[in-house]
Amino acid sequence: MRKLVLVMHTLAWAFACLLAATPANAQQAFADVGKQPPITILINSSPWYGGFEKTVELYEKQTGNKVKLDTTPYNGVLEKARNAVRGDKSPYDLINLDTQWTIEFYEGGFLTPLKDIDPTFDLPKEVLTYGDSGYWNAAKRWRTPSGGKLMAWSPNGNVDLFLYREDMLKEAGLVPPKTWSDVLASCTKLQDPPKRYAVAIRGERGNGIRFEWMFFMLGQGASVVKDAENGDYTVTINSPQAKAALDLFIDVQKRCGPPNAGALGQGDVIQLLATGKAAQAMVVSAAWANFDDPTKSAVVGKIMAVPVPAPVGGKPPALLGNWNMAVPKNIPEAQKKAALAFSRWFLTAGAQRAYAEAGSIPVRSDTFQELGSNPRFRWMPAYLAMQTYAVQELGYAEGAQVEQVLGLRLNQALIGEMSSGKALNTAAKEIEEIFRKNGRRTGSLPPLPE
């Protein structure tokens, strides 16, 4: 009888393995894109670049097609892309754009809708669309598939993860936090400056603080404007909910962070966690590879990831910071087709698996499901959970100006130059002015007490 049970068990297990393996095998397929002319890609040298480069090498090996990469530091990509699309002929066949820059390129009419190159082209259903940032509805001036055209696909989707030192939390008798109250409570045990900081979060002026604070903002249910998608640009950044978010952000930074929180950039946060000086941190998912690389990290195997905490009674927050790969308008048709062929290949399950194994963040949900149980990719479940509620912010033409305003005023509140109420009132006034000058339907809330 026991033997029979054992045989049945083995058969059931083998069947389960077969079932599980079938889709996995199916996902190994790479697209056959045929012979294509060489293409040039403008790409940023971000932490995930190494994986992209290796995947491109695989493409060249598999297809015999040539790809030239113009690898450029983050700050140089935008100007290179602008110069390329504003000229007579772009030297690039694919340009990689930060999600915040896409509006400028969509609105400017610089890009080719992907279905104009090949009407049969579509994103596989497993490919994550990151808040639909690749679609553009020109009439509505909004990134949406509803009435919009597919303009780009994402080679990378960043979202912050809340990383923690498993050993330190265990030693302190703590469990991974779910709310910011849990984080604040953990600080009493973990904060020991200057030897150790409980939490490291970017607070530097500009994109850094704006991006991180928006997780708090979203958690509190606050917003920058009322309903930008439907044309209502009433500024709501000085709402009581936004103030609660800013007060909480400052509280976390003051009680749990380093004294120079107002100057902490991405590199600093990564450095603090990788050297063991920070017990927890909010870090973009693309930085994960730094922590398991023994040449860069003193904490190999000790870092774990959970979704970014929510305020007590608030919503789970997730803000997208993805990249978008697009085809310029000013290149020959054959080059456009070659760029699309690469895109088609890159988004297959096989290429995405290779991409993930080379250290990048894949953009297919099935790749996450396939690799998520592997300890090497232990950050993936948190990432995938956050994708279910992740949103885009500042998705309008004035986004860059609004970011400048928020990046400054939030930083001034953090370093104590202004009260949180004054910072948000000032930001609201300035943002309203930006919208008004651009002819948007705008307004603002009554000022907060300063």
Partner: protein, 288 residues
């Protein structure tokens, strides 16, 4: 015939001047009264001088940027000239190793600005930087070099001084070496002390070189961008925001081409005004 050739021979220079200086300036002027947006891949220009002026008037970051720039130029250039002068006088008095000293002194100018920014950012790092490690080793509290509004600008100025003192030193050292030895000798025979020789003989003779150093460094300091961009990006708050950095953000990050052009013209006008005033201050004494 000869006279007409003389005039025609100027043509290449005039063409180059028009193409490389006049045209860009006229274009900048045209941009400064326009709003430039792109539709269908084509630039659309709209004549909006009032809109750009309103942006200039309502630019909340411009005022601290101008104030910081004035402070940066005044303090930075003053310190650079004083230190450059002292070094030039000191090295000129060396009996041996002048060449080696001069070579070592000019090393900071040879370092690329990006390397300078990265190097100093590491040294200023709150947790791992050499300055704070030294302070902690001396049982002193670490300093928030780049994260404190009261220290950050001074920290950036210090980097600028380190970077540019050698430039001033080179100009003044050449001038010091050019002072005829018999003038110094005559002063010495007349009983002048070394300090008196420096103050009463050498410095007056160095005034033209000092003027050149001040004007050059003043102009370059007004345009400082790389150091502050790499070290603080203008933060915390607006404590290290300089005019050129603000201009970069308007032009390239906010993509406001028209307003950016107006801001450029305003800054060019500001620098020109300062140069004219400083020239007036220097000319009566025969310095420029």
């Amino acid at each position: 015939m000869k006279s007409s050739f003389r005039h025609w021979s100027l043509l290449p220079a005039v063409v180059l001047f028009v193409a490389l200086t006049v045209y860009p300036m006229v274009n900048l002027l045209r941009m400064s009264v326009s709003t430039i947006e792109f539709t269908g891949g084509v630039a659309q220009w709209a004549f909006t001088p009032a809109r750009n002026l309103a942006l200039l008037a309502g630019d909340a970051v411009l005022r601290p940027a101008v104030f910081n720039t004035a402070l940066f130029v005044t303090l930075g250039v003053t310190a650079e000239v004083l230190l450059g002068l002292l070094l030039a006088l000191f090295v000129a008095r060396l009996q041996r190793g002048k060449g080696l000293a001069r070579t070592v002194m000019i090393l900071p100018i040879l370092v690329p600005p990006v390397a300078i920014g990265s190097m100093w950012k590491l040294m200023y790092n709150y947790d791992f930087g050499v300055f704070n490690q030294a302070l902690v080793a001396l049982s002193l509290s670490p300093v928030n070099w780049l994260g404190s509004t009261s220290v950050a600008l001074a920290a950036v100025i210090l980097v600028d001084i380190w970077h540019w003192v050698p430039f001033v030193f080179l100009i003044l050292f050449a001038a010091v070496e050019g002072i005829p030895p018999d003038v110094i000798e005559a002063a010495r025979i007349d009983g002048a002390t070394p300090t008196q020789i420096a103050r009463r003989v050498m410095i007056p003779m160095l005034r033209p070189a000092l003027a050149i150093a001040i004007v050059f460094r003043g102009i370059l300091a007004f345009k400082t961008f790389d150091e502050v961009y790499l070290l603080t990006s203008g933060g915390p708050g607006t404590s290290t925001e300089l005019a050129s950095l603000h201009l970069y953000k308007v032009f390239f990050e906010q993509n406001l081409l028209g307003y950016g052009a107006l801001l450029s013209l305003a800054l060019i006008a500001g620098i020109t005004a300062v140069l004219l005033v400083s020239r007036r201050a220097l000319v009566p004494r025969g310095l420029a």
